[in-house]
Amino acid sequence: MLGMLVLIARRLGQSALVLLVMSLLVFVGVFAIGDPLAILVSPDATPEEIARSARELGLQQPLWQQYLLFLQQALQGNLGRSFAHGEPAMALILERLPATLELAISATVIAIVLGIPLGLWAGLRPRSLSGQSIMAGSILGFSLPTFWVGLMLIMLFSVWLGWLPASGRGPVQSVLGLPLSLGSSEGWRHLLLPALNLALFKLALIIRLVRAGCIEALRQDYVRFARAKGLHPRRIIGVHVLKNLLLPLITVIGLEFGSVIAFSIVTETIFAWPGMGKLLIDSINVLDRPVIVAYLCIIVLLFTLINLLVDLLYVLLDPRLRPSTATPQRAGT
């Protein structure tokens, strides 16, 4: 238990460091991209007006001073005001976060719910027509670029068949204080296409992973032994095969959740989904640095959390990786 706490504490410490480095990178990065003033100030502005705007935005100081000021304010929970929206950047992101999470979680759930059974099926019957079809389908899943599939989905289901709306998010209701659109059938209808679009790639990945793991597990001695012992196939799959699969699967799902959120930028753009990915693209286009930094802070925090979770699950699931071995004694000194 103490090892667990040490693990958590260390992870949090590390993520603080990550945040520091990351925010520095964004500062330098956005500085390298271009001058926000070139876009934000009206084209006919006089030098005094430009200087005034620069002062108001804190852009007249040297970069290192801007960064120090940012750090100082960030420690007080203030990530600055958006240049373009004139509102606190963090509030902007948090306002959009539920929409993105809703989309990303739905996509992940779709990928898992469809991916594990399909992968198992293909793994248990690797030579069968169905198994091969599943594999071929999964190849298609990551062969087609997300944006192309997105457009195909819109054309098929919205324009041609008229079953589902082409874009946007359904009516929003407050669920446990979070504005979610899952409460109504209209919300679900809006969510389905973008979530499916976002899920396809992960679905293909999970299918492949589960299949590969399954085939491998079936060859392991303990499974052969269990078979020889006459254990029921359902038990073999349920206990031995699945358990063997869990570790890589959790890593990948955990890792991929971050990229689901990042890739939702594309899906959100195509389906006009009002999430934070779309906000990020819009902010990049006007070099709205506070929003970009706030977005990345949120992403880093999310990621740290996910990684922590993955690590903890690792430890729970694989006794060989209890903290004492996962983090060798050397590290403490």
């Binding site: 876009i39 007006e49 929206h85 959009r96 819109i154 324009v159 874009s167 009002p274 990049i284």
Partner: protein, 571 residues
Amino acid sequence: MKTHRDLNQPWLKSGALLLPRFHCLSACLFSCLFCCLFACLHAFSLPVLAQDARDAREGRDDARSTLRIGMAADITSVDPHLSNISPNNQIGWHVFEALTHVDDNARLVPGLASSWRAVDPRTWEFKLRANVKFHDGTTLVAKDVLASIERARKLANGQFAGFTRTIIAAEAPDALTVRLRTAAPYATLPHDLNSIFIIPARLMNASSEDFNAGRAMIGSGPWRFERYARGDRVELSRFDGHRDAARDAARDAARPSSWNKLVFRVLSNDPARSAALLAGDVDIIEQVPPADLEKFNKNNNLTLSRKTSWRTIFLQLDHSRERSPHITDRKGGAIANPLRDVRVRSAISKAINRAAIAARVMEGAAVPAAALVSPQIFGHPPAKDLSPETFDADGARKLLAEAGYPEGFNLTLHAPNNRYVNDDQVAQAVAQMLTRIGIITKVEVMPANVYFTRARNGEFSVAMLGWGSFSADLALRSLLMTPSAEKGLGTWNWGGYANPRLDQLIERSLSTTEEAKREALAREAMLLAMRDHAAIALHHQISTWAMKSGLKLQPRTDEYTLAGSLSLQRP
């Protein structure tokens, strides 16, 4: 388990064994894929079904009382004095009003001010309409105007301060009169005030958050603010206290010509916007992607509306430098800047087949340009004096040779790739045409943010730019006047073009308060600049809207989609 196959499977026994499995599988898969794809590709002949189904579901009455507009760019804030970008302004034009308005052709018409005049060369006087109601029930008076100007001037990071820059004193002699004094004679103040939305004086210190949350969204416009969901939509409801509402009601009491509710949806992705219209999610979209024009035109369920926009696309040239960074001789060696020679500039202009660009690249959504403002704009020279350059590749080659470049030279053309309609494709087409006459042209495109930063730093030799302006003299002041940072002149004159005669003409034009005289001066200035090929005009964009049939739009040259310009059409 892997090496010995399960030969008991029936499909293997039935002779399929002879066929490699991949073939069966891939045949199945690919035929499915192809079916899907081609079904999709032909889907557009059948959008009727989707639309009808949707209408039935939503109930036609509801569809009639709510108008849903698909917008092409994101609304960053509804604060009327914060960002001067068209999506924000479009919302502003529904909720607020300004002293002066502009009509479909961007010519000034009375707004909240019923009349205005120059009392003396340095003083403008505006008479306000009587009995104009704000949404909160208060009545518009002169001090609201003064407060609005003040807020626009002071708002942190506000982009409208420039429009109040010339005003050195403002006063209200009575409740319905506003007097504004400028330091020097300034003819375009009524134009400038078209950009300042009027709010009640009590909201002068309201923050952007107050506006975005709706607390401060009180204007005098025909629509009342309801809700702003960032990145998604703005919802408005009809304000019955507006003078237009009363007029509409009197005109036709039986049939409401106006909607009760207005929804602006942000659909910045082109295909998604088209799809939303076809799927019936919105009633009208702006900026129809050129690629979809042909198909939409043939669709009986849709009506198209088009209008020459005020946005002109042109090439800025490097005039000021001895050596230009992206120009070399054919072998890659440094040469003196050929763009300083008017014959080379003229050759470039002649080499460009504007008609082909308008017809092919822009799919007809553009007209060849002769000047840096559209033909309907104040100060565009009449057609007899100035018409678009005719395409003449041989003439261009001859001019190049005369200028001392029989071999031509190498050039890199820079353009944004997400700012103007088909910007990157236009750039490629221009490069093709220049390459034909011996100016071997490479194209480098980049996102607008990167592009404008670098352009402002003067990093390019030939750069694409688009501009929309109320008048020729205003456009020239920004684009071609000798740059002077202190006076805010030539702020977008990246090429550093400097022509004292032109400067003088523009200055005189901008300080002449008499309309006819001013227009003559503005025309002369534009003519001078174009004959010197100071910049190469390419085309004026044609803005296109697509809507459900049954809607009728009075299109505007300033590209705004206003509910007031839309009406229901009965067969």
